[in-house]
Subunit: 417 residues, 2 copies
């Protein structure tokens, strides 16, 4: 892709109306643009990172269920049936001109449960699970944390249906391990944290990333690493670690990047979703749900992976594999040579399906390097008067200080890998 | 994927509350499920077809602009600035509990134009274009055409920005050709149709597919094939074809699967989006927009590709490449042999990244064939007592009557290509 076409003039300063680190880093570098409080445009760079995050999640989730797509417009009646039309505090309630009323989906139990009712008849249909990656809406009072808390945001939500609590437990543990794999692939250290289980389960589990700007508070056992959300924590003096028995806790601010939840029969009883067991007896289906915010993940990755000059993406989610930065000479002939070499590298890599961003702009080396630092593609390929004279490029790591020159032909072979 | 896990009991009869052919075909076969009027769940089969349609569009659109993602929640002020807060007849207007008002995006000129304003300074930034594939909302009075007219639906929308009308015209023609390529890849014969251009252009162009259930009426020149939407057509007696001069017209019902539109400076003037031309003079940016409904495309493909037994997907958008249908013998040993062969084929193909649906259900051959006909995967691989004894499979085309047997080892080589 050409840097002149990514639809983003990089801001020279921090955006004044953004308080959060993630929104400042991502806006300055042209990944996102604020449409209004809590609502963002994902520009070409941001859209690419979001796709990568969502595809990593998709790859891991395909082993757990089939992908579906449920609607944002949801019938009011379904939300009344679970009692959440009035109770759900951040629910957007939408009135049509034509006398209909809708909930604007903040979550999808009210849709997936009646759907499951049509698909599940007998124990032979269980277990079964479906997931989606989709846009959610919440009527939040405050939205000052950038991508960490949006009024419109994207989520992966997985719902599982089981014949017994035991079967749910087994599946729940497997999803828990898959979540850890996903966060590892995304370059995040997530802490498994016990949290409130609602009315039907003792605990749920959250995956928390320690972040100064995180909206959650967690207490981490200094001996075994088990963590508890403040909402279910008594006090550091009296609380005993349920895992190792110690009472030594560290308090941290954290941001929740995933949660897994035993729903039990809360929603299957609201919608009367039953199956015939192997003895022909009717039983309520046992459910679990498993969420992961994909736009929030982008915000958390940004907050974790940066330095004073800008972002430093983990390779797995970087918008491009290589950033090609030709430094244009004032000498017309040399400039032509540099341009030709840059375009040759760009088109050769693109043809091989390697993702490359080419800084084709007519800017000074200083501006180009500053912008490249802001964008944070980990592998940078610099062409200058010096390198082109020797048919070389300079390979630079965004994170590391070490750099090295390489023959262009060798680099092309190396990149094709 | 296993057919027992696709979260859809196939309905044995037409769904009673669906009047449209596409919704009947797609619901019966388990691709979609109606959440309420004009709002659908896309089940595993439907979600796969939708992804394929959207990926074909993405492949063609990447040559025209960068992919972005704009929000559904849009500020009321932007819609007031274009005068469309009151004028836009199917706009969902959403009130927050916190004194905000939003438009729920039916289209994105009100978002993309202020965004472009930040990215475009000089003629050197032009032309530039961005597109997205995203969910749209329209507060339609009637929604009885299944996926052809939804209250919530998905669309690709591309927006282009130019320094001059001439540059727009050139780009417009190129998009027009790309649209034709997309529809061809999707197995649709689209008729380029002149339609109303709104207040700033003489004509826009629609791509129409002749369909008895289509909500549009078009008149097609019987000599040269040029078509006009009824909205800009006088009468078959007096209207002369602007292309060939003839006055012989055929009336057809049709469904619009794409439209391309010269916006001119309608939106750039509303948001004062200007650029400095090469002489340093300020000029309004000239815009075009190009829509394509991806869920509607799925409905139109369903209406065009079916027979009395169900759907027949074009290979490019079929949910799977192969449908493996083992017919279980009553003889336990033979059944084991058939099951083992089916699983071997299934896992071998899956490992090679070939998309396969395996009918693992314990149903009779009659039920399995009936359901396979409804689903409409074009290539079917049947295993039965007769074939397995000879280490063979029977290859059947969904559309054609010809079928043939093949050694399993030969089939696996053939499928691996």
């Amino acid at each position: 892709m050409l840097q002149s076409k990514i639809f983003a003039k990089l801001a020279k300063e921090d955006p004044k109306d953004e308080q959060s680190l993630n929104a400042r880093l991502l806006s300055r570098a042209g990944f996102i643009e604020k449409a209004m409080a809590g609502v963002y445009n994902f520009l070409p760079l941001g859209s690419r990172v979001l796709h990568k995050i969502e595809n990593i999640i998709r790859q891991e989730m395909d082993a757990f269920g089939s992908e579906i797509l449920m609607p944002s417009l949801q019938p009011k009646e379904n939300w009344e049936q679970t009692g959440r039309w009035k109770e759900f505090d951040v629910l957007f309630r939408l009135k049509s001109m034509h006398a209909f009323e809708y909930a604007l989906g903040p979550t999808h139990e009210e849709i997936v449960t009646p759907l499951a009712k049509k698909a599940i008849m007998s124990y032979r249909d269980l277990p079964v699970a479906v997931y989606q990656i989709q846009t959610k809406f919440r009527d939040e009072l405050r939205a000052k944390s950038g991508l960490l808390r949006g009024r419109e945001f994207r989520m992966k939500d997985l719902y599982s249906f089981h014949a017994s609590q035991d079967d749910l437990e087994k599946y729940y543990s497997e999803v828990q391990r898959a979540y850890s794999r996903i966060f590892e692939r995304l370059g995040l250290r997530a802490i498994l944290t016990e949290a409130s289980g609602g009315s039907f389960a003792k605990y749920s589990h959250e995956f928390q990333v320690v972040l100064p700007s995180g909206e959650d508070e967690i207490f981490i056992c200094e001996k075994c690493g088990l963590a508890k959300n403040k909402e279910i924590f008594s006090s550091p003096e009296t609380e005993k670690c349920s895992n190792c028995g110690q009472t030594s806790w560290k308090r941290e601010n954290a941001s929740e990047i995933g949660n897994i939840f035993r729903l039990g029969t809360k929603f299957s009883s609201a919608f009367n979703v039953k199956f015939l067991d192997s003895e022909g007896k009717e039983q309520l289906v046992v459910m679990g749900c498993y969420g992961m915010g994909t736009t929030r993940l982008m915000g958390v990755i940004a907050e974790m992976h940066n330095d004073e000059n800008g972002l430093i993406w983990p390779q797995n989610v970087a918008p491009f594999e290589y950033h090609i930065v030709p430094l244009f000479s004032k000498d017309a002939d040399l400039r032509k040579k540099i341009e030709a070499a840059a375009w040759k590298i760009f088109s050769t890599l693109q043809k091989q399906g390697i993702e490359v961003l080419l800084d084709d702009r007519d800017e000074s080396p200083g501006v180009k390097f500053k912008d490249a630092d802001l964008i944070g593609i980990p592998k940078r390929v610099v062409l200058s008067e010096k390198t082109v004279e020797k048919d070389e490029v300079e390979i630079k790591g965004r994170a590391e200080s070490k750099a090295g020159n390489m023959k262009i032909s060798d680099f092309l072979k190396h990149a094709a890998g």
